[in-house]
């Protein structure tokens, strides 16, 4: 049977931060634009727009994804996590608390990407070594902090939790 | 980018010089050149070039200006144009220098210029290599045409 084309506009449904969304999106829409402009989730940032900097990192399932270079239609049926789903100011995720405690945030532009990349790492490797953390953050750039406090925060969070964060 | 090549053409300098002004035959020697028109005789020409660099197609309307002509030894021209689809600006200078070589002509081709715009994202090396391939193929086709 010949493949039928996805029409220029598609109905997709996915879960973001535990909430289900059903949307009509153009086939050529990028996930980052859908998250920011349709769902008002501004945590993920457009920065390099070429998958190098990590500021647009979101999790699709357990995988970190560059939302700037990911078609929204690929998220159909999936579970997504953005930084807004990690915690709230009153109930911060341990990673967020660790970032605050260690002074790992300056301008904040890279932070949502750093947090989600770190979450993906800790979910898989609850006790990473410093080398593991550096390896996994290789695609997340920070212009402010020099990375030291970000790494310290992640390692401290891992040490505290003992199991998956 | 910059390319310099030297080759021997089996035609006397005067015959080669006549060939260089034969617009349709010269256009056939330039890889990717689809059409060429004379706008002002021995002064200005328009040519349409297409090239493929990996997955990227380039399509440029070039204006060619003759900068210097000293028959039958030296020809210098400029070629410039823009592909708005890939936002590529091309500006080239080409020199052709002829010297007698027995019954033939020793031809020195010099090409230098730049390709500005998004195509640069592929890296300077790719553009340099493409320029070298184009000049080499031009030389081959010119040599073949001069022999016939």
């Amino acid at each position: 049977m010949p493949a039928t084309p996805t029409p220029s506009s598609s109905s997709i449904a996915f879960t973001v931060n535990g909430h289900r969304h059903a949307l009509e999106v153009p086939t050529h829409a990028l996930l980052l634009d859908v998250l920011r402009d349709r769902l008002d989730l501004k945590g993920a940032k457009r920065s390099c727009d070429m998958q190098v900097c990590g500021a647009c990192t979101v999790l699709v399932g357990d995988a970190p994804v560059s939302a700037c270079s990911y078609l929204a239609v690929e998220a159909d049926g999936r579970e997504l996590l953005t930084v807004e789903g990690l915690g709230t100011p009153d109930a911060m995720h341990p990673l967020q608390q660790a970032f605050v405690d260690h002074g790992a945030v300056q301008c904040g532009f890279c932070t949502s990407g750093m947090l989600l990349s770190a979450k993906a790492l800790l979910d898989e490797q609850p006790r990473p070594t410093e080398a593991d953390v550096l390896h996994h953050l290789r695609g997340n750039l920070c212009r402010c902090t020099g990375y030291r406090k970000i790494v310290d925060a992640i390692l401290a969070c891992a040490a505290q939790s003992g199991s998956a964060a | 980018m910059r390319v310099a090549r030297e080759l021997v053409i089996e035609a006397a300098p005067e015959a080669l010089w006549r060939l260089l002004w034969d617009v349709p035959r010269m256009a056939a020697c330039v890889p990717g050149c689809a059409e060429a028109h004379e706008l002002a005789p021995h002064q200005t020409y328009r040519a349409h070039m297409t090239q493929k660099v990996g997955p990227i197609s380039l399509s440029v309307a070039l204006i060619v200006e003759i900068l210097a002509a000293e028959p039958p030894w030296h020809l210098a021209l400029s070629a410039s144009g823009r592909d708005p689809v890939v936002s590529a600006d091309i500006a080239m200078r080409v020199t052709l220098d002829c010297a007698p070589d027995g019954t033939g002509t020793r031809l020195h081709i010099g090409a230098e210029g730049q390709v500005l715009g998004k195509l640069g994202a592929l890296g300077h090396g790719v553009i340099q290599r493409k320029a070298e391939e184009t000049v080499d193929e031009f030389g081959r086709r010119l040599a073949r045409m001069a022999r016939s």
């Binding site: 270079s69 239609v73 | 340099q128």
Partner: protein, 302 residues
């Protein structure tokens, strides 16, 4: 913003091929999109049709068979990194997959996409040369197989015809006792230089019986250093491991390197000599069963 396009999701390679034939220049294959979407965002390519091959059953499988590993085209780098079959039969491949680009690219990007795009800085295109890799291509008339060194023709240029689909790459396991290393050097997202070295010890385990060396990133395409490989036959492993052997290569000096942001042509050729020596050092130490923790600035040692 991307320009609008039609997306097809064929479930078989035949359907995918039929779509390519039907839409010709207007269509492009799509899997991870890690290079394609970037080119589309820049407007450098403007396909009207994307043929998404991620839903072709079995195209992403990684299987071991007959002393070889077959990596399906849509297997992600992440899949290859974690594949038990790859770790068992060619662990260096899993190690290199772990270092491709960044974690997000590894999750989405595919081995087939990487090889078909033929970025001159591809780690896999260099590494797979020392595994005698062969590329499977599916076309309208059936399948054909091309050795990797005849598949990558130049920067962003391969032997794949417009109506063909890269379906898999097959790697041969090394002979027993062989040890290898992959060193990639650079400060940028794409490596400046990649060197893969494999050494097969002789029966006594003292000298090189066979060597394989591949260099990538600095020339128009990755290449084996056949003359140096030949020269290394019989070389004592301890000399190589200690960095005392003469491994200067005239072949390296003939590589058509171009001056660009990664460095001058001279610099690249000089670094190629240095890193070939280093890669051989690490491979030799491993072949001689030494523990080696080689570290060099801006270098990933796999």
């Amino acid at each position: 913003m991307l320009r609008p396009f039609t997306l097809y999701r064929p479930s078989t390679l035949s359907e995918a091929g039929a779509l390519l034939r039907e839409h010709r220049e207007d269509a492009t294959l799509y899997a991870g999109g890690t290079e394609l979407l970037l080119l589309m965002k820049e407007g450098l390519v403007r396909p009207h049709v994307l043929v998404d091959v991620k839903h072709v059953a079995g195209l992403g499988e990684v299987v071991a068979a007959d002393g070889a590993i077959r990596i399906g085209a849509t297997a992600s780098h992440r899949t290859v990194e974690r594949s038990a079959a790859v770790q068992a039969h060619c662990p260096l491949v899993a190690g290199v997959a772990r270092h491709v680009a960044n974690a997000r690219v590894r999750a989405a990007g595919t081995v087939g996409g990487n090889l078909a795009f033929a970025d001159p800085h591809s780690d896999l295109a260099t590494l797979f040369l020392v595994f005698e890799a062969r590329i499977d291509l599916r076309g309208p008339d059936g399948e054909r197989e091309v050795p990797l060194d005849a598949f990558v023709l130049g920067p962003y240029e391969t032997a794949r015809r417009g109506d063909e689909i890269l379906s898999a790459v097959r790697l041969r396991s090394w002979p027993v006792g062989a040890a290898g290393a992959y060193l990639k050097f650079g400060l940028y997202e794409r490596p400046t230089l990649g060197v893969a070295a494999v050494l097969v010890p002789d029966a006594e385990g003292r000298r090189v019986s066979e060597a394989r060396l591949a260099i990538g990133c600095i020339g128009p395409r990755p290449q084996r250093l056949r003359a140096l490989e030949h020269h290394l036959r019989g070389a004592p492993l301890e000399e190589l491991a200690a960095g005392r052997a003469d491994v200067a290569s005239a072949e390296i000096d003939r590589i058509d390197a171009v001056t660009d942001l990664h460095g001058s042509a001279d610099y690249k050729l000089e670094m190629a000599q240095v890193f070939t020596r280093r890669a051989l050092r690490v491979a030799a130490a491993r072949a001689a069963h030494h523990v080696i923790d080689a570290r060099y600035p801006y270098t990933v040692v796999v």
